[in-house]
């Protein structure tokens, strides 16, 4: 019967079209399949060139400033490696400090994620709730965190808790705004669909708004993960006492003019920030990549 063979043709045509041409996601997937040694090199090449140039300039600068300055502020890159990375007792000091900071940043981020989602969900449910809280969320974000840190220290001491509070404050806003944006960007047609079938508020939240918001939420988590590391180091740095995280170590190294170790501490801070940021990127892609437009190819 022609009536049944025609649609199957159309279906299979459509698949071929989808997997060979136009849509950006399909094009990207085709590209990633063909990643050979050559395209791998072209992918890594440019940043490597920049890195090598940077190290070269660093050497040139250190040579140019002369012996005294080199000791105080501008050691050669290999001196940093020798001091901070190739001596176990020094390296273990940095690792221990990084671990302390990681704990603070992680706990702070988890609390911020929970609070952020909670506030965003509440705000998405009623305009008046959004109007009540949003100005303060903005205030929280725009107020320089440094101004607040000493007060937090006085109120809640200079230990773990205060540092976590700093992390929460600094990383809350992007989670609220991105989650709220995600929850509110539901398509009109989807909303009508759920209404036509009598779905209540909770069902809509669970089956429509929340899954749809996930990609935006992960964007927020990612930004906040980076901020949380900053918060942990800033809190640490200003309190200057208690368990020694990266902030305190950076402060100590500065006062003792251990510039190689100071740079080592900076490198560890950067690595921690990048790791947290990437972790949420990967997690987000795992959860939403199979269906979201900006995700992987879904296979």
């Amino acid at each position: 019967m022609t009536e049944t063979t025609v649609p199957i043709d159309e279906a299979s045509d459509a698949v071929t079209v989808a997997s060979t041409s136009a849509p950006p996601s399909a094009a990207r997937s085709a590209k990633s399949e063909s990643i050979g040694l050559k395209s791998f090199a072209s992918l890594l090449g440019p940043p490597v060139v920049v890195f090598v140039s940077f190290v070269g300039l660093w050497y040139a600068y250190s040579a140019w400033v002369g012996e005294t300055e080199r000791k105080i502020s501008s050691p050669y890159p290999h001196a940093v490696l020798q001091e901070a990375f190739f001596q176990w007792d020094q390296l273990s000091e940095l690792i221990a400090a990084t671990w302390v900071t990681t704990k603070v940043a992680t706990v702070g981020l988890i609390i911020a994620v929970i609070l952020g989602i909670l506030f965003a969900v509440l705000m998405s449910q009623a305009k008046w709730i959004e109007r009540s809280f949003y100005p303060y969320a903005v205030l929280l974000q725009t107020m320089p965190i440094l101004a607040l840190v000493p007060l937090i220290g006085l109120r809640w001491g200079f230990g773990f808790n205060s540092r976590v509070i700093v992390c929460v404050i600094i990383s809350l806003f992007p989670i609220i705004t991105n989650t709220l944006f995600g929850l509110k960007s539901t398509e009109r047609g989807h909303h009508d669909l759920f209404r036509l079938h009598g779905a209540g508020r909770l069902t809509r939240l669970k089956k429509l708004h929340f899954p749809g918001a996930l990609p935006a939420m992960f964007t927020g988590f990612q930004i906040s993960a980076g901020l949380s590391v900053i918060g942990a180091i800033v809190g640490d740095f200003f309190f200057g006492r208690g368990e020694k995280g990266l902030g305190i170590k950076i402060r100590d190294y500065t006062s003792f003019l251990e510039t190689e170790m100071l740079i080592g501490g900076i490198i560890f801070s950067a690595l921690l920030g990048i790791t947290m940021f990437q972790l949420f990127g990967v997690l987000g892609r795992l959860l939403t990549g199979s269906w979201h437009e900006s995700g992987g190819d879904g296979t």
Binding site: P7, A11, G189, H190, H197, A199, W291, H292, E293
Partner: protein
């Protein structure tokens, strides 16, 4: 009892949908639909054509209860209706299978039954084998099939179509027209189909209504005499051209 065949005399049966001098005036004063009366009976497929912005879509929103009409009356025989939008409105995070199960989920149909009914519907729209695909990997035509399947799972007595194939290319559209005729004959629902394509309306429908520019009124009412199942050849017959011409003329008159 046998289901009424589409070509039988349908006016004797109770209407699945009744518009009785229904009007729609929006709060901003826009008069979208004015004094519209018609019935859709089981076994009937009513096509509505009209210029852009004439309130065609508003008709469907009034019929489904998404909008509350401001004058006259709109009555549904049964609340269980299928509503197919111009956009397939699939949930992108759900696979084809899960999308087709959505309405049953919202109506608390048990899990096992959901799976069975979804598979049947997917087969009806010729998408077997694509159950695990996400919408982003499907073509526009296939997404529309999923949307159809999703509504079919609820076995609605009345289907509302809001320019469902308007965004598709000509060939895909004609194939889906054939499919829809096949589904209409098999499932025997009543249909109300909004489109701006005269050929599409004439090809699918038992009756074609023409709406005027805003405020939308019915300015033409044509019975379509062709036997079902309708084949491609009908599109090229003189009778088809003649009827399309008359519909087109009514459309132009209503536009002035």
């Amino acid at each position: 009892m046998n289901a009424p065949s589409p070509t039988a005399d349908v006016s004797a049966l109770d209407a699945a949908l009744t518009f009785d001098q229904a009007s729609m005036v929006f709060p901003d004063g826009t008069h979208a639909v004015d004094n519209v009366s018609f019935d859709v009976h089981p076994g009937e497929f009513v096509g509505v054509v009209g210029p852009s912005g004439c309130g065609k879509s508003t008709l469907l929103k009034m019929a489904s209860g998404l909008l509350t009409y401001t004058g006259g009356a709109v009555e549904l025989a049964d609340d269980n209706i299928g509503y197919v939008f111009q956009d397939a409105t699939l949930l992108p995070w759900r696979t084809v299978q899960k999308n087709v199960e959505l309405f049953m989920e919202l109506h608390d149909v048990p899990k096992d039954e959901r799976a069975v009914r979804a598979s049947e519907a997917i087969e009806l729209v010729s998408l077997s084998g694509f159950e695990k695909h996400h919408p982003k990997r499907l073509s526009g035509g296939m997404r529309m099939r999923v949307s159809l399947a999703r509504s079919l799972t609820m076995n609605p007595g009345l289907f509302l179509f809001d320019e469902p194939f308007g965004a598709l290319d000509e060939i895909t559209r004609e194939r889906l027209n054939d499919e829809l005729v096949r589904l209409f004959l098999r499932e025997n629902f009543a249909g109300l189909f909004i489109t701006h394509s005269i050929q599409e309306a004439v090809f699918l429908s038992t009756r074609v209504l023409v709406m005027s520019a805003r405020p939308g009124r019915i300015v033409g009412d044509f019975d379509v005499p062709f036997e079902y199942p309708r084949t491609e050849e009908i599109r090229y017959s003189p009778e088809f051209a003649e009827l399309s011409g008359r519909v087109s003329e009514a459309l132009r008159d209503g536009h002035e």
